[in-house]
């Protein structure tokens, strides 16, 4: 089994990390880059495959050289055997289509052809959810999205997945697909390890991975457009059909409720609040 996980570096949108300028534009320079949070689900799905079916897991990303640390984060956070970064000025400012073209070529350039490629459910910056399906299209592989649980039948060359129909947790269907196959893991994805041997393998790999993640640089392969034999006209900004016509900020909804702050230790100030709440406590 060879499993590839696609990941992307995104601005860390968590409060306290992200900075916006006065016009509400993201300040990339002041905002740290982290692994796209949804990619963790793809990594967990790939790790389950590694634990239960063996083989190895490659983590691949496209981006500037600094994204090597994003790969390390993915490796440390879940698991990866080796890391690939597609990095080149010519690849810069790509839209989802040009990215998919580049990534699909990266996958085809791997020494052993993967049986499975996993992607997380949309990135925290673009939120399009296009890149995964477009990459599957470029590879001409079957695509299964919103996957919440996964079983592999290696002998039959099949995967069996439970997926959310229309991304809705209330409707789950089971599908089968031949491998190689492209799988998008839903945030609801739950790995299952029902055998003791799986859990022992899981424990062993998790122990090793922390040490290996320290020396992640030894595990990174960087490919530029020449390594991938890609024409610069079809990648990066030049290869991107998307035109961004403008960006409009969404106005903040005005708050209509009044708020009063009361010190909980001030019993006099608390009294009217208690009076207000008492009828509810009595069930009236």
């Amino acid at each position: 089994m060879h499993t590839v996980v696609l990941t992307k570096g995104v601005p860390d949108f968590r409060e306290g990390q992200v900075s916006f300028d006065e016009d509400g534009h993201l300040e990339r320079g002041k905002t740290p880059t982290v692994m796209n949070p949804n990619d963790k689900h793809a990594l967990r799905a790939a790790f389950q495959t590694r634990v239960r079916n063996g083989g190895h897991v490659s983590l691949m990303s496209m981006g500037p050289p600094g994204y090597q640390e994003v790969l390390q984060e993915g490796m440390r956070d879940v698991y990866a055997d080796d890391l690939y970064l597609l990095s080149d000025r010519e690849m810069g400012a790509a839209d989802t289509w040009a990215t998919a073209m580049t990534v699909a070529t990266g996958i085809q350039n791997l020494e052993t052809q993967p049986d499975l490629v996993f992607a997380g459910f949309k990135t925290a910056d673009g939120e399009t959810g296009h890149t995964g399906p477009q990459t599957a299209y470029c590879l001409d592989w079957p695509l299964v999205t919103h996957v919440v649980s996964l079983d592999i039948d290696e002998e039959a060359g099949l995967l069996r997945a439970k997926r959310l129909v229309d991304g809705d947790v209330s409707e789950i269907e089971t599908v089968e697909a031949p491998m190689p196959c492209f799988v998008v893991a839903d945030p609801e994805f739950e790995p299952t390890y029902r055998k003791a041997s799986h859990r022992l393998e899981h424990k062993q790999l998790r122990e090793e991975t922390q040490e290996r993640a320290e020396n992640y640089e030894d595990l990174v392969t960087v490919w530029d457009h020449e390594d991938l034999n890609l024409d610069p006209d079809y990648i990066g900004l030049d290869g991107s059909p998307t035109i961004v016509a403008g960006v409009d900020p969404i106005p903040k909804a005005p708050s209509e409720r009044e708020a009063t702050v009361v010190d909980g230790d001030d019993s006099a100030a608390m009294e009217p609040i208690l009076d207000e709440l008492t009828p509810y406590a009595a069930g009236d």
Partner: protein, 552 residues
């Protein structure tokens, strides 16, 4: 045979008994899987806790795990006392001789630290054999095929088959109960212990106990400071804390409707404790545990098909007056069970391991320590009502008091006699009456003022760590008559306290009033008390769920 995942040996529970079994199985080249339900070994475990290495034992914990004393224990016990308390008068005896009898060493331990250290070694050893240790797996029962035990069932994993199953799953063993070897029926087969671990820096401990940093003390308390409930208290010095607890006969707790946490507070606030606790009492953890009374509960044939039972799960806890030994017996039993399997396997008949294990427990003298012949002849006689009543009256009479005064040296010597101690009956006389008389007649008044304010029960519960899962105890009969004792006996419940597991209320139904009990398992410390004193369906929580002890 159905196609189950298979290991040669499955050990359930990674306390000292399970760890010893696993280590010895691994050393014999047996493929061994160890399943522990806590997030970490030790997170579900509580003991007083002193661990002994007996000179006469075929296996000791440091023999099986070199470096154990350096890495996993608190302090060696170098001094031992028993305090006979009557009000504020106390008579103290040095029971060092009793303690040193057959003792190679004894150390105080905190179970989270100890078991967690053991678990790392166990994983290393068992991993070599193709197995290993898994935490957060709740083994729910026995896997049977054609009526024979062939493995275990788990909440988190598919069933696992094994050539031997070692049940080291503790006092509330679900495996021993599934096999029909143990029950929760008789309160008089059990003790209940509660414990507080109080923070204290090492220098303060050295100063207050007048010891060096490589020394430690064990104090026992008996007499009238527990409202007549049969049992006693203890105080052990750890590296940077004190373990202070009380252990009572569960039938006595139930009959007296005693609140265990209040009995513990009675000890914590006694004037005698002031010299050690000072004015800055800071409780790190409150915990509780059911303790089997091996004299009555130890299984004489702790096996069934491929199942062998070790440690608390098999009732292997020796508590006779001032002798409280559990972990060392669990270690010996665990290692012997492993040895028995290795023997049976080498004879080409691995399924005879249980039979060999039973034989080894007898041959190595373990059974006689757990169920002393001297107790069964003399001790039980003392438990017969009229005899006990007469003896109590004599001890409290002028004649009895005269005897105690005249025989001061003799009493101290008697406490130090392993033979006499093993005969102590489970009655009020040795636990309450006699120590009280000794305290009154021989004791001196303690004038120290105790400033300790023990935390309220809701604070004690609030300070514990829980990962609350689905309710794991079902109240089968909620009438006060059937289950009301749990309101008081449960160490995290109390009368008129709403934040505990059990509470009682009067409910009006169709014109008449019913006295009912309700249960909320959130604050449960998984001691098992209610399984004995109330009518429940009792199971452990799922792997990793429930209370997580940090000291233990």
């Amino acid at each position: 045979m159905t196609d189950h995942e298979h290991y040669e040996a499955v050990v359930v529970g990674c306390g000292p008994g399970g760890a010893a079994a696993a280590a010895n199985l691994a050393r014999n080249g047996v493929e061994t899987l160890v399943l522990e339900r806590g997030v970490d070994a030790g997170s579900k475990n509580v003991s007083g806790g002193l661990i002994y290495a007996e000179e006469s034992a075929p296996y000791t914990i440091d023999g099986l795990f070199p470096e154990f004393r350096e890495e996993a224990t608190e302090r060696p016990v170098t001094e031992n006392y028993i305090h006979n308390v009557a009000g504020d008068t106390v008579k103290t005896f040095d029971i060092g001789d009793l303690h040193h009898h057959d003792t190679a060493w004894a150390d105080s331990v905190l179970r989270r630290r100890m078991d967690s250290w053991l678990a790392d070694r166990v994983h290393e050893l068992t991993h070599e054999t193709g197995g290993g240790l898994l935490t957060e797996v709740h083994v729910t029962g026995l896997l049977r095929e054609k009526g024979e035990i062939v493995g275990v069932t788990c909440e988190e994993l598919d069933p696992i088959a094994a050539d031997i199953v070692v049940a080291a799953d503790g006092v509330n063993s679900e495996l021993a109960r599934d096999a029909g070897l143990m029950d929760w029926e008789d309160p008089d087969e059990w003790f209940q212990g509660v414990k507080a671990v109080a923070e204290m820096d090492p220098d303060t401990i050295d100063e207050r106990f007048d010891i060096d940093d490589d020394e430690g003390e064990a104090h026992l308390f008996s007499g009238d400071l527990f409202d007549g409930v049969r049992g006693g208290g203890f105080l052990y010095t750890n590296e940077a804390s004190l373990s202070i607890g009380t252990v009572f006969h569960l039938d006595s707790i139930a009959e007296e409707r005693a609140e265990p946490q209040e009995l513990l507070d009675g000890l914590l606030t006694h004037p005698l404790m002031a010299q050690w606790l000072g004015e800055d009492y800071h409780e790190l953890e409150y915990s509780a545990k059911l303790v089997p009374d091996s004299k009555k509960a130890a299984l004489t044939a702790p096996h069934e098909d491929r199942l062998v039972v070790v440690g608390d799960a098999a009732g292997q806890m020796q508590a006779q007056g001032p002798i409280i030994k559990g972990m060392n017996h669990a270690v010996t039993a665990g290692a012997l069970a492993a040895e028995a399997f290795a023997d049976a396997r080498s004879r080409g008949d691995p399924h005879r391991a249980g039979e060999f294990y039973e034989q080894k427990l007898h041959d190595e003298g373990v059974m006689d320590k757990l169920r002393p012949t001297s107790y069964s002849v003399v001790g039980k006689l003392g438990e017969i009502g009229p005899i006990d009543g007469v003896a109590n009256a004599v001890a409290e009479s002028a004649v009895g008091r005269f005897g105690v005064r005249a025989a001061e040296g003799l009493v101290e010597r008697a406490y130090n006699s392993p033979m006499l101690v093993s005969m102590i009956p489970d009655t009020k006389l040795p636990y309450v009456t006699l120590p009280t008389v000794i305290g009154e007649e021989l004791g001196e008044v303690v004038t120290d003022e105790n400033h300790v304010q023990p935390p309220e029960l809701d604070d004690r519960i609030g300070d514990l760590t829980y990962d609350v899962g689905d309710p794991h105890i079902e109240l089968v009969d909620n009438s006060f008559e059937a289950s009301g004792t749990a309101v008081t006996a449960c160490p995290v419940s109390a009368t008129d306290f709403g934040g505990g597991c059990y509470r009682d209320e009067m409910v009006q139904t169709n014109g008449h009033e019913e006295h009912l009990v309700s249960l909320d398992t959130q604050p449960c410390v998984e001691c098992g008390t209610c399984a004995v004193v109330a009518d429940t369906e009792w199971e452990h929580p799922a792997g990793g769920k429930g209370v997580e002890f940090e000291q233990g």
